[in-house]
Amino acid sequence: MTFAYGWRSLARLSRAEWTKFRTVRGWVLGMAVAVLVTVGLGLFSASGSHSSCGGPSDVCPAVPLGPGGEAVDDKFFFVHRTLDGDGSITVRVTSLTGRIRLPDATPGVRRVVPGVEPWAKAGVMIKDGTRQGAAYAALMVTGRHGVRMQHDFVHDTAGGRSGVSQAAPRWLRLTRAGDELTGYESADGTRWAKVGTARPAGLPAAVQVGLFAACPGDLTVRQADLGGAVAALRFAEATAAFDHVAVRGGTSGGSWRDDDIGAEREPGGAIHHPGGATRAGGVFTVTGNGDIAPRTDGQMVEKTLSGLLAGLIVVIVVAVVFVTAEYRRGLIRTTLLAGPRRGRTLTAKAVVIAAVTFAAGVAAAGVTVPLGAHILRANGDYLLPVGPLTDLRVVAGTAALLAVTAVLALALGTVFRRSAVAITGAIALVVLPRILATTSVLPVDASRWLLRVTPAAGFALQQSVPAYPQVTAFYSPQAGYYPLAPWAGFAVSCGYAVLALALAALVLRRRDA
């Protein structure tokens, strides 16, 4: 039996199974229903989502985009001067303190207590101007994550783990050589350790070099009454003290300038939550709030695919019946006469149902994603922008998830031969974990585990915006963040499908037809 023959035979059997599929009107109709229900529910939920920024004009401020095209938060206090060509900045950080606002005990009375956010950050930065979203590299001390070197919003490299205090200050140095920026840290200003290098995108010859401070809001998560959780961010700020500030290179005599980058103005014209800087005897004290990080506040494009749950149920029903119908009247015997190699016949069935559902998934997601995004934007929702490749992955991933679920359902149908049991099993394995993880009273950790170990892990393929460990946010399944990376999650789903299919092949081979 040659290899080529095996393929030809599989192709033939697959063609036969395709003929079988398309000649039953109910199944073709089922696929159409799966597409329609996914598109319909998706668009419905998109049109039910409104948001507005308030104010008389109700126009939301433009969200800055980082060099990679992602939406970013770029708000911090920057004390800077121009650096022409190669050079370096060296400072000693002697303290990092801060304030955090707590929930109001008495309504209307602000309660602010001293404290440092884990990701409060202060240090040195080289940035392509003061425009929000401009390329940069920064070397910093943080509240609880030691020294970090970050650049262009999404990149983060860990340095030493120690914090900063009067007794144990930390020296930071950022040098530029051509397009390459290198960060060093030191405890004493003499022995330096390299933290990392960065190549910010398109850095011009003349850049701004200086000191900065920023502090993301304080995150609290509360159990919601109807299931799920409610996350809230409250104002926090950080203050850092620097001395031994030295800039080498082409500074062309320019002086230090202060900029509250990304400051928002209140209707009266005053800056909302202003930062600030003071200079006294070579000691710079910089206070800032906000964050320099990819933005997490906004809708994700995969939200529009929420109708997929209904589409999945329809696909599961069709995939299960595609095989259990053979058992209802004994058609399986005819099928096995035509393809006596049972494993191959089952594979052909799996190939066909996977291909059909993949095509249906591409159609459903391909319509829903652009249309849903359009509706969300028209409703005033801010959609976190993603690249075309990510959009493609969301669409193809949705289709792949449908396909792999269909194969799993087919395998269960083969094993159980009863549609009721197989359909319930497949729904319990794929649809239920996802529903439980996103809308139930389950604790977040339990939800994450559900999405790690069940075939519902494949939903991770839909996540368009990654979770960044260096960014403070509530990365829960409910918020659309899956515990596994997209392809890892898909691999889990595939693993289940392959296992089930192998079991089905084994059972089918052992069993008298």
């Binding site: 023959y5 030809r8 035979s9 033939r12 059997l13 063609r15 036969a16 199974e17 395709w18 003929t19 079988k20 000649t23 039953v24 009107r25 109910g26 119908a325 053979e326 009247r329 004994g330 058609l331 399986i332 015997r333 005819t334 096995l336 006469l337 035509a338 393809g339 006596p340 190699r341 008298d512 037809a513």
Partner: protein, 352 residues
């Protein structure tokens, strides 16, 4: 035609829980003739066919089609066409759709599908849902599926079930013409009558094994045991003459031919009177020898011409010498008497 047109079954054994469905089933089906596969219900016919077709696995033994196990065939429907269960289709698919997927699985095109649809006379119904078909139409669809791959071997399980008389005649002709093309055709039935005039060869099974594997002519001859009916006004002389020549002679009585044939066989072994060669008047069954009324004798062991020659030589008058033939049904009942698994609870029970 591809491959050898044979089915070889060797020592099949299969147990379903407490019942032994196949108990050493062995036979060979040869090309160029219609082989009847007969036996009472539960004798193992369907199980054997399913094992041959790779649907069931035997506990022991082998079943080969054209010298190879079914599951190893590359394009199985081009080697064997089978009709097992005409109801085994999806009700919501059209007849043509059903044949089309089968054709695609063997690398055949739609043209072949239309050919077989034409061949079985389903053209007008081809695009209708198969679920609405009558039993006879489903049977035709099943036969179309069996013919699809133009196979050298055909296996049909009870193909005339549900067909109208016209359909029965059609299928008999079809089977004969398929065999005449050199194919091996195995047709199962639990009614011997269905096979009379169709089958050339018979495999009779009972209780999971082969009872007889023989040509139809031989079988009938064997059951008839070469019997010749002789009508004579002088039965005693005739019996003496014929017995001396080595024949077994039975007095059948004047209206013996009117007696139902099956009854004759059900009673065989303690028949009314048997005269065996060598002994003039051997009486068996303990009954009195009384032939006075009888003028019809059943003679076995001698061909008709020899009987005529012997009687003429001894000047025994006779009016009629007719070679007697048993029917297939009789032969079958004779063979399977012990193999029937379920007797109807009448007759025998009532007599006791």
């Amino acid at each position: 035609m591809r491959g050898e047109a044979t089915i070889e079954v060797n020592g099949l054994r299969k147990r379903f829980g407490p019942t032994l469905a196949l108990d050493g089933m062995s036979f060979t089906v040869r090309p160029g003739r219609v082989t009847g596969f007969v036996g009472p219900n539960g004798a193992g016919k369907s199980t054997t066919m399913r094992v041959v077709l790779g649907l069931d696995a035997a506990d022991e033994g082998t079943a080969l089609v054209g010298g190879r196990p079914y599951r190893s065939l590359r394009e199985p429907l081009r080697h064997v066409g089978a009709l097992l269960d005409a109801a085994a289709l999806q009700p919501s698919r059209s007849a043509r759709g059903h044949l089309l997927w089968l054709a695609h699985s063997q690398g055949l095109g739609a043209r072949r599908v239309d050919e077989v649809i034409e061949q079985v006379g389903l053209r007008s119904a081809a695009r209708r849902k198969a679920g609405g078909f009558s039993l006879g139409m489903r049977q035709r669809l099943g036969i179309a599926a069996a013919l699809l791959g133009d196979p050298p071997v055909l296996m049909l399980d009870e193909p005339v079930n549900g067909l109208d008389p016209e359909g029965v005649i059609w299928i008999r002709g079809l089977l004969r013409s398929l065999a005449a093309q050199g194919r091996a055709v195995l047709v199962s039935s639990h009614l011997m009558g269905e096979l009379q005039g169709t089958a050339d060869h018979l495999i009779v099974v009972g209780r999971g094994r082969v009872i007889a594997d023989t040509g139809v002519t031989e079988l009938i001859a064997a059951v008839s045991r070469g019997r010749v009916a002789v009508r004579t006004p002088e039965p005693e002389r005739a019996m003496r003459t014929l017995a001396r020549a080595g024949a077994t002679v039975t007095v059948s009585g004047s209206d013996a031919l009117a007696v139902s044939r099956s009854e004759t066989f059900a009673a065989s072994g303690n028949g009314p009177l048997t005269v065996s060669g060598g002994e003039a008047f051997a009486v068996s069954g303990g009954e009195a020898f009384a032939v006075s009324g009888g003028d019809l004798l059943t003679v076995s062991g001698l061909p008709g011409e020899r009987i005529v020659a012997l009687l003429t030589a001894d000047s025994v008058p006779f009016s009629e010498v007719v070679a007697q033939r048993a029917t297939l049904e009789e032969a079958y009942l004779e063979l399977t008497r012990d193999a029937v698994e379920f007797h109807a609870g009448t007759g025998r029970e009532a007599v006791r």
